[in-house]
Symmetry: C2
Subunit: 422 residues, 2 copies
Amino acid sequence: MYYMASTELGDRLLSSLAGEYGTPLYVYDGKMIAERYDAFYSAFSGRFANVRICYALKANTSLAVCSLLRDLGAGADVVSAGELKTALAAGFSPEDIIYTSNSKSDSDLALAVDAGVIINVDSAGELESLGKIAAGRKKTARISFRVNPGVNPKTHPKIATGLAESKFGLHIEGGLALAAYRKAARMKHIAVIGVQAHIGSQIQDAGNFVDSARRLFDFALELKKIGIALDFIDFGGGLGISYQGAKSLQPEELAKALEPVIRDGFKRLGYRPALVFEPGRYIVAESGILLTRVNSVKKTPYKNFINVDSGFNTLMRPAMYDAYHRVRIVGRKGSSETYDIAGNVCETGDILARDRMLPKARKGDIIAILDTGAYGMSMTSSYNSQTLPAEVLVRGKRADLIRQRGEQDDLYWRQKIPEDLS
Amino acid sequence: MYYMASTELGDRLLSSLAGEYGTPLYVYDGKMIAERYDAFYSAFSGRFANVRICYALKANTSLAVCSLLRDLGAGADVVSAGELKTALAAGFSPEDIIYTSNSKSDSDLALAVDAGVIINVDSAGELESLGKIAAGRKKTARISFRVNPGVNPKTHPKIATGLAESKFGLHIEGGLALAAYRKAARMKHIAVIGVQAHIGSQIQDAGNFVDSARRLFDFALELKKIGIALDFIDFGGGLGISYQGAKSLQPEELAKALEPVIRDGFKRLGYRPALVFEPGRYIVAESGILLTRVNSVKKTPYKNFINVDSGFNTLMRPAMYDAYHRVRIVGRKGSSETYDIAGNVCETGDILARDRMLPKARKGDIIAILDTGAYGMSMTSSYNSQTLPAEVLVRGKRADLIRQRGEQDDLYWRQKIPEDLS
């Protein structure tokens, strides 16, 4: 079984990229993205005939990364009108795009209907709006519903989405989801073609996916009883990685664990809907490295700090989710001192990594923050008036700048000062 | 004593602004910003001769808001090279700008030296870098040091900065700060002119400020003993507001509490340094309202959700700091249902307000999220490929669009797709 923790991009390359493009810099290993995609796809397509991997754009929305995944054969899981447009701009076909969001405006829905993507409906109210919009356009909206299967995976509460109290989806419990399907089946401009569930992020226990899959098949069977057959069952995303660099649940193991439930489900259903998966983090996280430069090293009576030129504006995960990322100093070996890597945002909570044993750090050193290919660049902001980082995609011996570094003028873009104040 | 919780911008105005400029929309009450600034300035200038209020740009970096405060007579507290440039662009004079950051690059320091702003040095290593840079430019850098006074205010741990383990400043404890002043005083291209401390954010207990001020005067006395006189003592920012709309600590009370310590400090010192304060949140928070539209209303067996067209990309504070903001439905009265206001970001944690009693909500309603003038727009991101909101500054009968709504193309700005992927 394929497994390699994090990208193996070498220090000489990283150092030269930091020199050429400056810091902070996100570097992605395209080869690893392809390997991860292939590992996921083959684990399931080796077992089942009709499998589609819809890459969850929110993990990394860079056009080049999206285009790479489109080239590899992925579909797209999008969560906003903006991501829908991005997926189209990256060349995904509308029929390969599924649009999920708890909160879609009428104009979002109209865009989705016009584009012809699959709309993953979140509520009865949304179904009603969508029916009117599709009718008004004399078009048929192809939809699934996001259902809440009531599975509670063990993960960070902020990213556990299957919880009963979640804002997402229609509860299977209490018949809410079934009622919505019943209603949708009678609507003229609505074609019900699928069901979707997504139980959370960063899940490492195949049992959670198995539970959710079983409930989805149970539910599909209920739908069959009311005369609804599905083109697809979408099991969502959520496959985690190990930010500690340990071995994590791999697609092959996941597929193996899901195989009996799916085979049994097919048997119970008497037909075989396509199987859809929406991995994001698994595909891109370990391919990414954030390079950041040491501005100063500071000793206090309590802590040693390495002050770098990134902060939570550049990498939100540590401040937002208490997330752990491995760090190392590019081109340096050993581990002689304990440091906090302090970001350059003016908040005490802006510590990118705590209590790490590293070689003695010097001003000018490049720090590599690993596994930052997912929810890194896509969550950046210009807080503290910091400009956005640059991004490079490495494929073999080739390195392409896929996003130029932001400039000060970007911060003023679309701003206006009233004349009497200027 | 002046006090009014939040802006009194009327619902008719808010509704018409949402209609004209769309949602999500940040609206600021310029009159209130001016009142808050004046309240702060007069509380201290009514008691002392030489007072400067340096507005902390990070709270709200919009050029129009910054320009308004410049017009009112404020100086600027900036925390990055980007904010420094923004302050200059908004017309602040370099001598009225103080630049604080735990992590400044050599190019940041060079920019600050060239611009002639006051540099608030954070560490011995930074002092050394700055000395070389100033010498290389044959210029004199005017500096203060940020000191860690060892005061522990009762506030959210993520925003308490005076803690002993904080990344910020030189500890007074152990003689670190004193040693740095001693060294700086001997450096040819460094002019030591001040001392600064900032003990945290959202502080509502004047006692914390009193403790910190006392230690700053104690420290200034130590400096006097080694022959260093200060042009200014900078007490930092951190004055909170009540997000619940209760009465919070006001500048007048703060000034009253600080008065004896400052008078005593002047007496002990035998001279009178200028008094600098760096409020941000206090000046702008309550002036701001985020307007967001209801996309759908959803009942689940566990919760009622109002799904809106903003998320933590638009207002980070609830997801990031578990922050509370009052919400109301524009133009609607009563309170008949309990709702969560669910953001449109594809994360379970994206709930803007929990368990709020509101009138029965309908699709299309406008929700006003109060007290969002600080750390609202300045923390926005394009996560989930959402475009940035627009901003309006209201002054009396006048409403100016000060930032146009972002567009999809902004998300592609500076991105490149390698030819073989396009």
